[in-house]
C-alpha cells in the first residue's frame, strides 16, 4: 500500500526510522528544494542514492573521496563510458589501485552524504516504491540507518527543545518583574531588539513573528534567548479543569463487567 506524504508533516528522520524498523526494501523518492532524490533500501539498510543530476558514478565518488587524483578521474571517466561501475571497480581492485573495502567505504560515505543533505529539506513530497531497485550496472552497499537517524535527530533536537520550551506561539510575552534591570544596558542583537519592541501582553508571539517577518524557528530562538536571560516571561493560559468523573457507575466490578458484556452482546447483533 501507498507510503507517501509531505515533508512538512513527516520528516526524513521519521521516514528513515519507519524504513529501518519495518526493514523495508524499495526506493524512497523525495521531491524537494534540492531536486529529486532517489534513495534505495534493502531490508531497512541504505543501498544506493542519487540526488538530482549529480554524478554518482564510481569514478566521481572515488574522486570526491580523494582516492584518485584529477588526472586518474579524467581517464576513468572516459573509460567509464564503456564499462559499468561494477566492471570498473573490479579492474581497479585487480590492478591494485584500490582495495574492495576502500570502494565500499567511499560509496557508503557518498550515499550517506546524500541522505544527510535530505535532512535539511523541510519542504517537499515523498513516496516509497516497493519495487524500484538501483540501476543494475551500479554498485550497491549496505549501510545501517541507525547512525544516520541519530544524526538527523540531532539536527531536529534544537527545534524540539525550542518547541518544548515554547509549545505555542499563541501565547503572549511580558517583561519579567525584575526591578533595576535596564534594557538599555543589555547588549541585544538586532533580531532581539525587534522582538523586544513588540512585547506586550496583548501581542502573541505569532503576531510578533508576523510583524517582524520571522519564521517559527527564528522567533522561538529569539524568545528562548530572552527567556534564558530572564528578561521576559511567557503568559501561560490558565490550568485545565479538574479530572472528569469516572465513566462506569460506581458499583461493584461484577456489575460493571456485566454492563460491558451487555454492550458487547448487543454490538455483535447489530
Amino acid at each position: 500500500m501507498a507510503l507517501k506524504g509531505n515533508l512538512r508533516d513527516f520528516t526524513i528522520t521519521q521516514i528513515l526510522n519507519l524504513i529501518n524498523l519495518a526493514r523495508k526494501t524499495g526506493t524512497l523518492v523525495v521531491e524537494g528544494p534540492g531536486g529529486v532524490a532517489q534513495v534505495v533500501f534493502r531490508e531497512g539498510k541504505l543501498a544506493y542514492a542519487q540526488i538530482g543530476e549529480e554524478d554518482n558514478s564510481l569514478a566521481a565518488v572515488l574522486h570526491r573521496s580523494k582516492k584518485i587524483n584529477p588526472a586518474q578521474y579524467r581517464i576513468l571517466k572516459e573509460r567509464a563510458n564503456q564499462v559499468s561501475d561494477k566492471e570498473l571497480g573490479l579492474v581497479l581492485i585487480n590492478a591494485g589501485y584500490i582495495t574492495q573495502q576502500e570502494v565500499i567505504n567511499a560509496l557508503q560515505q557518498y550515499f550517506s552524504s546524500v541522505v544527510r543533505r535530505l535532512f535539511t529539506w523541510a519542504e517537499g513530497i515523498f513516496h516509497f516504491d516497493n519495487d524500484a531497485q538501483p540501476p543494475p550496472d551500479r554498485i550497491s552497499v549496505k549501510v545501517s540507518l541507525e547512525n544516520l537517524i541519530i544524526e538527523g535527530s540531532r539536527q531536529l533536537r534544537e527545534w524540539a527543545q525550542l518547541q518544548e520550551e515554547i509549545p505555542s506561539l499563541d501565547m503572549a510575552l511580558k517583561f519579567a518583574d525584575r526591578p533595576g534591570t535596564n534594557l538599555k544596558n543589555i547588549q541585544l542583537s538586532v533580531e532581539e531588539w525587534r522582538v523586544v519592541s513588540y512585547i506586550h501582553p496583548k501581542n502573541s508571539m505569532r503576531q510578533i513573528a508576523q510583524t517582524t517577518k520571522m519564521n517559527d524557528l527564528e522567533i522561538r530562538r529569539v524568545v528562548y534567548s530572552l527567556l534564558q536571560a530572564g528578561l521576559v516571561e511567557i503568559i501561560r493560559p490558565a490550568a485545565p479543569a479538574a479530572q472528569p468523573p469516572v465513566a462506569l457507575p460506581m458499583v461493584n466490578k461484577t456489575t460493571q463487567k456485566s454492563l460491558v458484556q451487555r454492550l458487547i452482546n448487543r454490538i455483535r447483533t447489530l
Partner: protein
C-alpha cells in the same frame, strides 16, 4: 434508564461522523456547518460541536456515541465531551499522513482527560492511497500494546469490529483492576 457513552475523535475529515452514522440506530444528530477556511475545504461540511449517535442495548441501557469536532478551533468541546466516557476511538485517515501528527496529539489530549481504554482506527483502508496499518503504527509512534486496527467507516461490520475491540479492552481492564 442507564446511559453510557463512547467518544469518537480524530483529526478533521478522518471519518468520525461516518463512523457513527454506520452503527447509530437514529439519524446522527449532527452539527455540521459549511467549511469556511480555504485550507480545510477537503469536504463541504464539518462538525462544529459534536455528532451524536445512539444504540439501544436493552430495555434499560443505552450507548451514546459522541463524535468530536475535528477542527482545532473547536477543541474546547473535547474536554466537555470526554467527561464520563467509557472509552474512546481515535479515527485516523490512512490516506492523509499530514494528519498523523495531529492524530497523535489528539490521542495524547484525550488520554490526559481520562485514563480510559482506547482504540486507534486506521480509516479509509479501502482506498488505494491508504498507508499500511503497520507503517501507520511507526508513524503514529504507537506502542505495540496499543490496538491499531484497519477500518472502513462506511462499512458497518468494520465499525462494529472497532467498537467490540474497544469493549474487549474495557472488559480486560476491568478484569485486571482491583475491586
Amino acid at each position: 434508564m442507564q446511559t453510557v457513552k463512547m467518544v469518537v475523535t480524530g483529526p478533521f475529515s478522518a471519518g468520525k461522523t461516518q463512523f457513527i452514522r454506520s452503527v447509530s440506530e437514529i439519524d446522527v444528530v449532527s452539527t455540521e456547518r459549511k467549511i469556511s477556511a480555504e485550507a480545510e475545504k477537503i469536504k463541504a461540511t464539518t462538525t462544529v460541536a459534536m455528532d451524536f449517535g445512539r444504540i439501544s442495548i436493552d430495555d434499560d441501557l443505552v450507548l451514546f456515541l459522541f463524535g468530536t469536532p475535528g477542527q482545532k478551533r473547536f477543541d474546547f468541546m473535547w474536554e466537555i465531551l470526554s467527561e464520563g466516557m467509557l472509552g474512546f476511538v481515535v479515527i485516523v485517515d490512512s490516506t492523509r499522513p499530514e494528519t498523523f501528527r495531529e492524530a497523535r496529539s489528539i490521542l495524547e489530549t484525550f488520554r490526559a482527560y481520562a485514563p480510559t481504554p482506547y482504540i486507534v482506527a486506521a480509516n479509509k483502508q479501502d482506498l488505494p492511497d491508504a498507508w499500511d496499518v503497520e507503517d501507520m503504527r511507526y508513524a503514529l509512534r504507537l506502542d505495540e500494546k496499543v490496538k491499531l486496527l484497519p477500518c472502513v467507516a462506511r462499512d458497518k461490520e468494520s465499525v462494529k469490529n472497532i467498537l467490540l475491540e474497544l469493549l474487549y479492552a474495557i472488559l480486560e481492564e476491568l478484569e485486571q483492576s482491583k475491586d
